[in-house]
Amino acid sequence: MENYRQSVSRADPGCVVILLDRSDSMKLAWGRTGASLADGAALAVNNILLDMCIKATTEVNAPVRHYFDVGIFSYGARVGEAGEGVESAFGGALAGRGLVPLPELAEHPMAVREEPSIDLMPVSARMPVWVDPVHGHRTPMCQAIAVAGAHVFDWAAAHPDSFPPIVVNITDGMVTDSPYDGATLQDWARRLTSIETNDGATLFFNVFLSPFEVTEIVFPSDPGGLPPPGPDLFALSSPLPRPMVDNARVDGYDVRPGARGLAFNVGRSTLLRVLQIGTRVPDRVR
């Protein structure tokens, strides 16, 4: 039977985990935006969380439905304690929490602030904020997968009939902690994607940010031509399943057979679009 057919509902919610690079290199300016990679990544993450809350509200003024459990794990500089490591990136009332049900997430942003438009239009809007821009230290990506994997593992065990967990890694650099605990980054990715529900294996998507304005490569089907660390990220990334292929085609991307969940050298607005494509699962009102 074909996998990745399950829709999300309150009975069978989905799981979205974002791994957010907070290493020192995220302080670099992102193209001509004038803001740092960390600023842009945090803005995109806050946008996608708001997007998910809105899409889980089926009626005006109705509460947000529990369609997803969401986790944001940062790696690099930590906020909760000084130094390098992995922690929940949520601030405010959700600080330190792993996976948070969408209704609770909607109720507890750390602040509501004036934020700039992600597509660089000269407008801003007041929007809830769950994650702050932070950067420092190295890039312990393996540890991030290890920490997030424990949450994903428990979630999959508790939701065997749900759409498989979706893990999106947003990074701008090379992993600095491989091998971690005796396993390489490839091993950790394999461990993560071996977590399954009855509807398929965990999806691991990667988004590589570049501070320079270079050609964006979105959902490639071939690692050839990708500069480092593109081929490595391609190998780590899950093939795009049917729902995401459909999402990407609706958004105008030419998705070839064998396309992977990888976006390379993306700008700010593309980052948000990729997050939307990678986290959009058909919902079933129930």
Partner: protein, 178 residues
């Protein structure tokens, strides 16, 4: 407008008029000025009442949630990479070596699949009465021939069909749809 609102409006108009008349006794105006005072007073009263009654007093729905904004944190500009090793192992767990929990809920909650012995999905036909469009049909099968009888009490159409021949054209007659 509710009955209550209508009563309040009427009472307001009456009170405004009475107020105007009382004012006449005080100021001793001529006839047309008196009429003007009464009319303007009444109009103002009605408008005031209308404004009060039609003001939306429903609770304001917050578009954003009420968590008080915490003091904005400055981005962390940390020192250059330290030489210390990363933090402790993830929650001291080796989840990748654990056996996944059995999907206990699936068998308990899923409804029983219907028995499908003798059901050939490639030969299945959804039949519809070609006269009224109803799906409530009786069927008598004799080899490849089928005799149908529509159970719609307003129709009762009977027809025969043989496998491989085209299905009779369906023309739904509204007066038969029951």
């Amino acid at each position: 407008m509710t009955t209550r609102n209508a009563i309040v409006l009427a009472l307001t108009a009456v009170c405004a008029a009475v107020g105007g008349l009382i004012g006449l006794q005080t100021w001793d105006l001529d006839f047309w000025r008196s009429v003007t005072v009464v009319v303007v007073g009444a109009l103002l009263g009605v408008l005031l009442a209308f404004g009060v009654l039609t003001t939306d007093r429903r609770p304001v729905t917050r578009t954003h949630h009420p968590t008080p904004a915490v003091a904005e944190r400055e981005p962390v500009f940390a020192q250059a990479a330290s030489s210390s090793e990363p933090e402790t192992k993830p929650a001291n767990r080796t989840w990748w070596a654990e056996a996944p929990a059995p999907p206990a809920t699936t068998t308990a909650t899923k409804p029983q699949e219907p028995l499908r012995q003798g059901y050939d999905v490639d030969r299945a036909v959804v039949a519809q009465c070609p006269r009224c469009g109803d799906f409530r049909l009786d069927l008598k099968q004799d080899g490849e021939s089928c005799a149908f009888h529509c159970r719609n009490p307003n129709c009762g159409h009977r027809w025969e069909w043989r496998a491989g021949t085209p299905w009779p054209t369906t023309v739904v007659r509204r007066n038969l749809t029951g």
